[in-house]
Structure formats: structure tokens, C-alpha cells
Point group: C2
Chain length 541, copies 2
Amino acid sequence: MAKDKSTRRPKAETPKGFRDYFGADVTERKAMLDRIAEVYHLYGFDPLETSAVETVEALGKFLPDVDRPNEGVFAWQEDSDWLALRYDLTAPLARVAAQYRNDLPSPYRRYAMGPVWRNEKPGPGRFRQFYQCDADTVGAPSVAADAEICAMLADTLEAVGIPRGDYIIRVNNRKVLNGVMEVAGILDPNDPEKFAAERGIVLRAIDKLDRLGEDGVRALLGAGRKDESGDFTKGAGLSDAQAEVVMLFVNAPSEIQRRLQDVALVEVSSEHLPWDAYEALGASSAAGANSLPNSASVTRNEFTCRYLREIVQQSVTGIEGVDELEMISELLDRQGYDARKVRIDPSVVRGLGYYTGPVFEAELTFEILDEKGRPRQFGSVAGGGRYDDLVKRFTGQAVPATGVSIGVDRLLAALREKRKQAGTERKESGPVIVTVMDRDRMAEYQAMVGELRAAGIRAEVYLGNPKNFGNQLKYADKRNSPVAIIQGGDEAAKGVVQIKDLILGARIASEASLEEWKSQPAQFEAPRADLVAAVRRILEG
Amino acid sequence: MAKDKSTRRPKAETPKGFRDYFGADVTERKAMLDRIAEVYHLYGFDPLETSAVETVEALGKFLPDVDRPNEGVFAWQEDSDWLALRYDLTAPLARVAAQYRNDLPSPYRRYAMGPVWRNEKPGPGRFRQFYQCDADTVGAPSVAADAEICAMLADTLEAVGIPRGDYIIRVNNRKVLNGVMEVAGILDPNDPEKFAAERGIVLRAIDKLDRLGEDGVRALLGAGRKDESGDFTKGAGLSDAQAEVVMLFVNAPSEIQRRLQDVALVEVSSEHLPWDAYEALGASSAAGANSLPNSASVTRNEFTCRYLREIVQQSVTGIEGVDELEMISELLDRQGYDARKVRIDPSVVRGLGYYTGPVFEAELTFEILDEKGRPRQFGSVAGGGRYDDLVKRFTGQAVPATGVSIGVDRLLAALREKRKQAGTERKESGPVIVTVMDRDRMAEYQAMVGELRAAGIRAEVYLGNPKNFGNQLKYADKRNSPVAIIQGGDEAAKGVVQIKDLILGARIASEASLEEWKSQPAQFEAPRADLVAAVRRILEG
């Protein structure tokens, strides 16, 4: 101990990029995850909790070295092993699916919730530990599994409090994009590595449609693009004819929108028509599983699939992709998940480099104000898709898998925003505080909270230094306590307690008229025996 | 990708000392933690979730070096900082209490649940990641805070399913032990460092009473002890008179037991008399807060305190410790937590080196069989105490704190053991499985599970390859499904489904008579429209 005196005091600081969560931040997230787990459970998914630590080898990262230190994971060496904190919940699932392949049911539906860690430069809103919440089906080759994930995602969003019409789940298919690449002549099925660089540029260009507009994307497909600052970005070098194919795909969403309006099937003036209006149009009149849709009864999703089929008709892979999308939309439509909930949308490009089949993205469509006060849509809160190669790394055997990951912090922020907009923000009420007027009567104060707790009322005795009574009320205020109980020697002798209604007290102090002040005393006396009943009356308002 | 071909496949393995939790293991723990959180919440405690990663500095560990690598934590260097995974939930609390000291309410009651990591050699039953569940009160100097923790711990154990009489919370006080050391002449209040080595030996000797017996402890207090193998352990070198003082303390529990029987106050034949018997004795007749207890009305805890007071009466610290224990037992007794739930017990030594005041240990007293089939008590599931120096490391200012940590895995194992003994083990039922007879009718199968889920029934369509129907039933068995639904083309044409009661089926297969077999068919036909009602009838038994 003596030698410690010379050392400096440690800093009391959360490490850079990490956070502490207090009180309601913890309980709100927990409540949301509990609701999500209920939906996942109802769909037959089982929980899985892997350890936070994996071998670097299992995570698929190379050993850290000077040039690429840790590659985005927190890693360290233990004896001969390199260990690391998991950076997502998918890599551990792949390891588990391989490790326990003889014991797990197949298909294996599992959900997982928990923190993941990223060794990235921390910044505003960018943290090095955050929650993910995933559901995946391993071993189901049919796109029925993808459809199920989409339906479950829609149910999940509604279960946590995102109303219909405020979200849309967009679905695309990697195979359709591959078909487009094939037709445009930059993907050779017999030599998948060829034109990889070009495809990379095309993919990044498509993803920038919102920001650069059609002309900007066209420039990047061709020779390249000079931005306002004069910086030049090299293009994919496609010919005009090649670029035209890609642009057909890029423009598909707006073209589909235009054509749907032409045929007056769906008079949508925006991608996000209010739910009621959409419903009134009868846009989703189910075509039925086996009926041949004619143009008068085609659904929006069917229409989109037909349009995409035209673009990729010369590619086997492309047609396969469209077939899959059609199956997904038919399955979903039959269960009531039509284009107002789950929409086939070729504009979804994010994650296409990673996934091998259908991809999904859940977007919240209600508006919020950005930092500059401009309205914008809330945006993406979940994404996923089919990835058939992950388990193969371990076993050499391809295992089909599909799943979704919810951005827990994003979704929680969305729920708070919704409540704020609706004026239904919740400030969790604190415990009833029994104040200490007389230190020797602590047992009696403890008995009071004991009675309150036995009645299910959150309560505590003030356990700081009781000398300054003002501090006790300040404490009650800081805890957002609804009620304070006071019993000094006089009250004890009379067999009564003073009950202070702190909610009413705060309201009276801020807004009440003198008359109200008199008629509704925020503090009153009650017989000691009536303590619980009197407190309950206040809590029940 | 091409170059990967030459590298070997990664091993699909959980890192050494880490575990994966599946299905019911996750939900059972979650259910238990939820119940614990409810009790903590009712007592006014707020949740806190700190990040898994702390600076090594904040954890109070020295920088890893060759001689003491990591000292039991997983640590690594990021830029100039050493980071580490938290090894408990107390060190992060100390950091938080210091970091946010101007914003947090005082006293600050918080609970925390989550994994902690220990860099120890893994072994059977020894893991490097495990759950802890803590509740602490920071900033409450009064022992009323310690009493509250004990009461809350008792409520918690009962809430999760440990019945009264199957647990006991033992309470001791570091100050009483210090008093004993003072009286024995091996603690000088004016020079706390003096005799530190002797005290260490004494503490370790006391902790071995169960194993070594009275003579063994006496030997270790004196010159030393030779064990059966001939190995010699050096003793504390106390004189007979000094050792006698320590032995008075060591023998206190059995002596108290004997005296209580002498005065026929409590006819306890064992430390763990059945709850009912204890109650019938009226041993806990409350003496009242201010009445002077006479020998006829003294409670067991009061008796223990009096006995301890005799031993330490020449030590100011010792008397202070006994006063505190008396206050704790009086507060608890008044609320109904008498010696059958919370017992003052000088035999609690564990953790006394760490804590500065009262210490608690929750022990489960029901019997289990050890590896060799011999009955033994289940043992400790939680421990805690008062530690007034933790925050001081950061701020230089002493802040009183007291709390408890529940060993989550131990408590969960205890609950399972209780259920096993009571024959009420739960095997969680799996989802209803809708089998796939006809791939083209997938939408109809999906509609079935949709209806079941809408009625709150866990259900899924079989999503593996449907060709082999036997595999579908094997899957249902592996999932522990209660019901399978079958609808081929014939059934569809007739508008019916086949409903297979898998629970009944399993029972009939194993034990039914031929008559039962006939009268209770495990598979029956129902109109498609009655699907949900028919399934519900089976599930409700």
C-alpha cells in the first residue's frame, strides 16, 4: 500500500469510443429486445449466446501485423492463440453451425442479441461497442426461408411500435444484379474473376444514385467523373450500350413507378403513400397462388418482377434471381405482406457484394429533421440477405443460410423519435422515498418501504446523511420520485405520516392558480395504517 | 479468393475456457435475471450497463509485463492505451461513481448484470467468461444500507424460486475480526501494517476450520502444522493466550449453538432446522426496537452479538463492529428477516480481506449429491459486503459503498437442482411444425403458420429439403415439437388437415396399452378451418 502513495491517481474515464448506459437507457433497450425475442420465438427461432471472444482464425481475420493491425477487431495473443472480440453475430454463427453440425436441428433457426466490438476510430455517433440483434436460418435452401425472414422483420417492427406505413422492407437479389452485369458484358459465368474491377466500380456507382443523380452515375459507368472540386474519379470504362443496360436497372424503380401510374393500377404519387390511401386503392388484391395474373390484377411486386425479367432475360442467373423474387413476393402476398410492407426494389444495393441471393433492407419512412433542420426519412434500421458460403470456410461444405441483423441503437432511436413526435415520451417514474427525520426510527422507516414493496410499489428509505432535510427532497427530485413520505416524532406519536405528492407539487409550483393551490394540497396527513392505500391513490392519479 | 485455396481451413472451435449457450440455457438464465431485476427495481435500484472494455488503469491493474502478464485480465494495447475486459462489475462501478459523481444521485443504488472475463487457466467448471449480477449502494454510510442489501438478497432468492428454509444469509463484520486481532495482540490500530503477515496466516487458518478441525487451526495459529503427507505449513507464531482469543472467535458459532440449547431458547439440533420447526419454536419473537432484551426474549442474532461483544470488549473497533451487527439484525428482525433468513455468523471469513465492514454470504442449505454420491449442502451462491475505499482510488475522497454479487451460473444450477429434486423439470416445448408434402403449396403452409402465430402459437413450416418425409418428423422430434401438421393433395382437396399429437404419440409408443392406443389416436383429421382450435386443444392438454 505504502508505495501506491507515490503513483498518480487513475483517470475515471470510459475508454475512447465506449459508452455507459444508465437507468431508462438500459430498460428501454431491454424492453425492445424482449419484444423482438417474442416475435422471433413465435416464428420458431431459438436463442443462441456465444462468447464475446473468438479465435482470430474462426473470425476469418488474418493475424494482426504491422501493416494491417487487427483489421478492425480488438485482438490479443494468449499463449499460441490469437483471440479477438467478435465484430458481428454472423461469424460466430458460422463457427457454431460448423462446430455443432451433427447436433443442431437442420434447418437451424437461431436468434442472437448482444454487443459486438469494432476496432475503428471513434467519432461522433460511432462507437466501438454496440448491440446487434440477428435472426438467421441455416440449412434452408428455399427462398421460403428468405420470405419468412422478411415477414418476421415486418412483424418485429410492428411489435416494437413502428406502425404500418411507417416502414418498408425492400428486397432485391444479387442474382438479378449479376444478370444485369452479364447482359452488360462485364460478368462471364465461366470466368467469375474477370471484370471484377469494373463490377466494383459499377456497384459503387449504383450505390451513389441518390447523391450523384443519373448523369453522375452514367459518367462513372463510362470514362469517369470530375466532381465540383475538380477531383477525378476513374470510371468503369463501359461503352454506351453497356452503360445503357446498367442504367435500365438503375432507373427501374422510377420507371416502374411511372408505368404503374400510366396503367392507373396504383396511383402512387410517392414511394411512401400513407397506409390508408394505399389500402383504399386495392393495390394488393391478391392474384392468388395459381391464377395467371393479367394486367388488371397484377400487384406492384409482380409488376416489378416482370420489368426486371425484361432486363435480364438473356442471363440464366438473372432469370433465376427474378424467379426467386417472384416466389418471395407471392409467398408474402398470400400472407398479407404486400408491397406496402415488403417491396421488391432493385434500388437496394447495399450488401450486394457480401450476399449471394436475396437481400433485404428495412427502412423507416417517417420524417425526422436532420442536423440542419431539414426533413428527411429516418432511413435504414435493419438489413440482411442470403449468404451461402460462410460455413463452407470451416467444413468445405456449402450450407445455405439467410438472415437479418437489426441495428439496435438505430431502432431504439427511431422509437424515441416516434414517441417524441406523438408527444408520448415516457419519463420513468422513480421510487417512493421514505425520508429519515429521526435516525433512531430507521427500523420503522424500513418497515414502511417493506409494506410498500409488498404491495408492488417501488420504494426506498433515504440512506444518505439525513441531517439536511432539503438534501433528502433534492434526492427525491433527482430520482424523479412521485411521492415522499415524512414521519417525525410528532407524527409518530399521533400515528400518522405526511405524504407529499411530488408530481402534483411540481405542477402546482409551475402553473397552478392560487385557488387550485388551496384546493389541492400537494402534502397531506394520513393515518400510518393507510400508508399504502394513500400512496397508491396518488400513483394511480 | 484463389490464394485461399492453399491455406488450411480454420478450426470451428469455441476458444479454450469459453462456452456457447443454446436455447433453454439462454432463456432460463434470462428468466432468472428478469426476476432478480424486478426485485432490485422494487428496492429502488437503477440499472447500469458499462462497456465490456475498460482501461487497464481504471481496472486498477498494472501494465502487463513479463513477470505478471495481465494479472488475470485479458488486456491488449491500443495506440498508447492498455485496454482490458472487465473482470468483475465492481471495478467499473467504482470508475462510474468517480466519473459521474456530480450527476448521479447520492446515494446511488445501481444493479448490473452481464458477463465478466477472467484470464485464468481454464479447467472443468472453470470458465473464462461468466455472468455476474450485482447490486450496490454507493454513498450510504449507514449500516441500514447493508441491512437493505441482505433483505433484498433474501427476497431475490425467494423470487427466483429458492423457498424459505432452503437458504440462509450469513453476516459477519470485518471490524469484529479486527477487534479479535487487536485483543489477541496482532493488530495495532496505530500501526496497521504491523503484524500483517501474522494476520494473513490467521485469516487463512480460520478459513480452513471445516477442513482441518479445531486442532489443525490451533496448530496454524501457533508454530505450524504438518499434514498427512508430511508437508509443513508455517504458523502465525501466536502464544497460547493469543491463540486462545482467536479460538474463542473461531468456536463462537458452535459455542453459541450450545448455549442457546442450554437456555432452551432455541432447541436447534442443527444449523439448518426445517423452517416450520423453527417457526414453531417462536425463536424470533421480536424483542422490539427499544426494549431491553432479557434472556427469555432474546433472539438468536441478539444472542450472537452479545457473545461476540464479550470477546472483543477491549477493542474500540471490535465493539463498533458488534454495534453494527446489532443494528443490522435489529433492522432486519423488525421487517421479518430473522435468524432463519439472515443470521449473524462469525464463521463467515471469505472476502474479509477485501471488505471493510459488514460481509454477507448467501448459502443454499438443501442437500445435493457430490461427484461421489455423498450428500452435501449446495453452498454459497452470492456474497458481498461493505468496501469504503474503491472510489477513493480515483478521487482521493472516501465514498462508502456496500453491495452484493450473485453467482449467476451457481444460482441457475441450484434452481435446476431444486426442480430436479421436485420432479418439476421443464423441457421447453418446441414449435408446431407444418410439414411440406407438396412444394408448390408452400404459400398455403405459410398461411397455416401465419394463423397459428396470430393466435400466439409458436409455429414454423419445415424449410429443409421436403423430399424425405421421415426427415421432417425427425426434425420435429429434435425440436421437441408438440404437434405436426400434414396436408397432402388429398387433404387439400377435401379441405382438411392431419394433426399429429407428438407428445401423446411419444407416450403411447412408450407405455400405452392396446386399448388406449385405439381410443386415443395420436393423429386425427380436422377441417382446415379448425386448424388453430384443434392445435390449441392439444397444447392445452
